[in-house]
């Protein structure tokens, strides 16, 4: 008896659902081996990772707080990824959004206008899109690889942030700490649940998910981007512009990341500082894949990834797991997802060999 890999002739919904679940199960298995090797009880570790965060109101709030930016960024990135536009610099676009919104908030630091926050959201979104737009321009005008450019732009954005918080935007009363003054209340998102840090910016992420679903599943533009990703030759044949796809893919991702950046500075942080994001921009890449680049899948993936983030912090305290376990978990998830993904498009067929 032997097996042969066969391309599926019809898409299988069951396979598409099973792939991420299998990836999660395999990650947990690999994780328990790893924890045992580190001399930790895997069950205690998993309890800390996946149960503890959800067993308190505060914990749930934290998970939702981290889910917001992950969801927002991943929805944006996924649209680009479907078109094979590889924006890996969402972290930098997030920072660009955070910096632009902060500049606005600090400039109008005495304002009580209800328009301040919406203006910050707009400015931050545009700044994120613009930062990604540099990569789109360099790719369409000079053919420069967007993977490398978006990554480099991320590193540049980080240096720009360091410069701003230690110079132009530093709090003059802040004893030379590299951070800005606190934002006024008008520049902050309102809390969503009492006694937690989660705020209204979560609705932005949910609304973006709905828009992403309409765009990806229903719109002609979404279809054109998909064709560009699946079969670039067919896109050219049909007359779908590749340049437009690159622009659209990068701008949407950048805008979403920029908006997420606003959510951070105008949410849990309330000021601009050296550290804005615990790697949301990179983790969102994993979220996008784990969600099957599908707007609905991404909602679940973002929740799961947020859980890993919060669980990682909690297990550090309660079980003494190293702080890198969250990163390793993220890496393992994507590795197993990519391995399992083969079976979304292929199936094993039994071959009987008679002699």
């Amino acid at each position: 008896m032997a097996y042969r890999l066969v391309t599926r002739t019809e898409t299988s919904l069951r396979a598409q659902l099973l792939v991420p679940l299998a990836a999660i199960v395999l990650t947990l298995l690999a994780g328990s081996v790893l924890f045992s090797l580190l001399g930790k009880n895997p069950l205690a570790a998993f309890h800390a990772f996946f149960i503890e965060p959800l067993s308190t109101r505060y914990g749930i709030g934290e998970v939702l707080l981290k889910m917001g930016p992950l969801l927002l960024i991943a929805q944006g990135l996924a649209i680009g990824f479907r078109a094979r536009v590889w924006n890996i610099g969402a972290e930098g676009q997030l920072l660009a959004g955070a910096m632009a919104a902060s500049a606005l908030a600090l400039h109008f630091d005495t304002s009580e206008s209800a328009w301040l926050l919406p203006a910050m959201v707009c400015v931050g979104t545009l700044a994120g899109a613009a930062w990604a737009g540099i990569a789109a321009w360099l790719r369409t005008a000079f053919n420069a690889n967007e993977i490398l450019v978006t990554f480099m732009l991320s590193s540049i954005a980080l240096q720009l942030l360091y410069y701003l918080v230690s110079g132009p935007l530093r709090d003059p009363m802040g004893l030379n700490f590299p951070q800005s003054a606190l934002f006024s209340d008008a520049a902050m998102f309102a809390p969503l649940l009492d006694n937690t840090r989660v705020n209204n910016s979560l609705f932005l992420a949910l609304a973006a998910s709905l828009l992403a679903w309409i765009f990806v599943q229903r719109s002609l533009s979404g279809y054109k981007l998909l064709i560009g990703g699946l079969a670039p030759q067919a896109a050219r044949y049909a007359g779908f512009s590749e340049k437009k796809a690159v622009w659209l893919g990068l701008l949407i991702g950048g805008a979403a990341a920029g908006m997420a950046g606003v959510g951070e500075v105008a949410g849990p942080l309330g000021l601009l500082q050296r550290s804005i994001s615990p790697g949301y921009g990179f983790a969102a890449i994993i979220v996008a894949f784990l969600g099957g680049l599908h707007p609905i899948g991404i909602v679940f993936a973002a929740f799961f990834m947020a859980l890993i983030y919060v669980g990682g912090d909690m297990s550090l305290v309660s079980v003494g797991l190293p702080n890198s376990s969250a990163t390793i978990f993220q890496g393992l998830l994507l590795v197993f997802y990519l391995a399992c993904f083969l079976f979304a498009n292929h199936r094993l067929q039994k071959v009987e060999i008679r002699h």
Partner: protein, 307 residues
């Protein structure tokens, strides 16, 4: 003044060495038709493994050897993903890169912030005493010369040996190579392992000679600059090496300018390597025909044998 020029040039060679190791490895991988973006993570694993092993065993040789082996093991995960599970190479590179960064922290967790005595310079006798040249070229540790040896080796293998011909053939058309009987998957697997080992050596050079200390995030984007170097170098080892030395010089210039007390924001200097990477990338990529002529035709595409 002459002293500072000697210092700058000698420092350039040292700063370029980690990039050179990793870039020579990646050149071979890409020539075989595989795009491995996980260099950052592989260098991190090499850096942490090399440091930990050398600290514990007191042997540099074991440090470098285990760094190469550790990163090669990590790269084998990438190889399995793209060669057997036909995963998208960009996504697989990112996944393994993240995994590598996570593992590097775990491996180095007992050594965070520690330093080690730098790999000693070779005793080259009168050569090192030569004025100027001695200081620039002959006052370095062994691994720096090994890196130079690797440039020559990779250049020779790719352009003059039968093995290189096979690697290029596999990278240009895996179908054709398979049709005349070459084991495409095996060749690519070995190329990826070689790339991993080289990235590991590059990482270990950072922690055992260049800095020499271990801290989380110490690779600091070098892995991505390596990927860019291979593009600017148009997949030709000698040009890639030239690019690596150029980058060595840029990072040295940063220290030099700061030392001279110019009033340039330090953040601008820190951002310089990335800005320069983008600028060169733009200049080199403008001509699609040039890229098309040099770039391995099957780069980045999954392949499996149809049975």
């Amino acid at each position: 003044m002459l002293d500072s020029i000697v210092f700058l040039l000698a420092g350039t060679l040292a700063a370029a060495t980690p990039l050179l190791f990793a870039a020579m490895g990646e050149a071979v991988v890409e020539k075989a038709g595989v795009l491995n973006l996980s260099i950052e993570g592989m260098m991190a694993v090499g850096a942490a493994t090399g440091f930990a092993v050398a600290t514990i065993s007191g042997s540099y040789v074991s440090g470098f050897a285990m760094a190469a082996i550790g990163s090669a093991i990590l790269s084998s995960i990438f190889a399995v993903l793209v060669l057997f599970f036909l995963a998208n190479q960009v996504a697989a590179g990112l996944a393994v890169g993240i995994l590598g960064l996570g593992f590097s922290v775990l491996i180095g967790k007992n050594h965070e912030g520690q330093t080690i005595k730098s790999l000693p310079d070779l005793e080259l006798g009168w050569l090192s005493e030569l004025p100027f040249v001695g200081g620039v070229l002959f006052s370095h540790d062994l691994m720096l010369y090994v890196a130079i040896g690797m440039i020559i080796l990779v250049w020779w293998v790719l352009s003059h040996s039968r093995l290189g011909l096979i690697i290029r053939a596999v990278g240009e058309s895996p179908d054709a190579a398979s049709a005349i009987g070459y084991p495409v998957v095996l060749i690519r697997f070995l190329a990826i392992l070689f790339g991993g080992a080289m990235a590991g050596l590059g990482g270990a050079y950072l922690t055992l000679s260049y800095t020499p200390l271990w801290a989380e995030g110490l690779v600091a984007g070098r892995g991505w600059i390596v990927v860019a170097l291979v593009v600017f170098g148009m997949w030709r080892p000698l040009r890639i090496a030239l690019g690596a030395y150029l980058f060595g010089a840029v990072s040295l210039l940063e220290l030099f300018i700061q030392g001279q007390g110019f009033s340039i924001p330090s953040q601008l200097l820190s951002a310089m390597p990335y800005i320069i990477t983008i600028v060169i990338l733009v200049i080199m990529s403008r001509n699609p025909r040039l890229i098309r002529l040099n770039h391995p035709a099957s780069l980045g595409q999954s392949w499996h044998r149809n049975a």
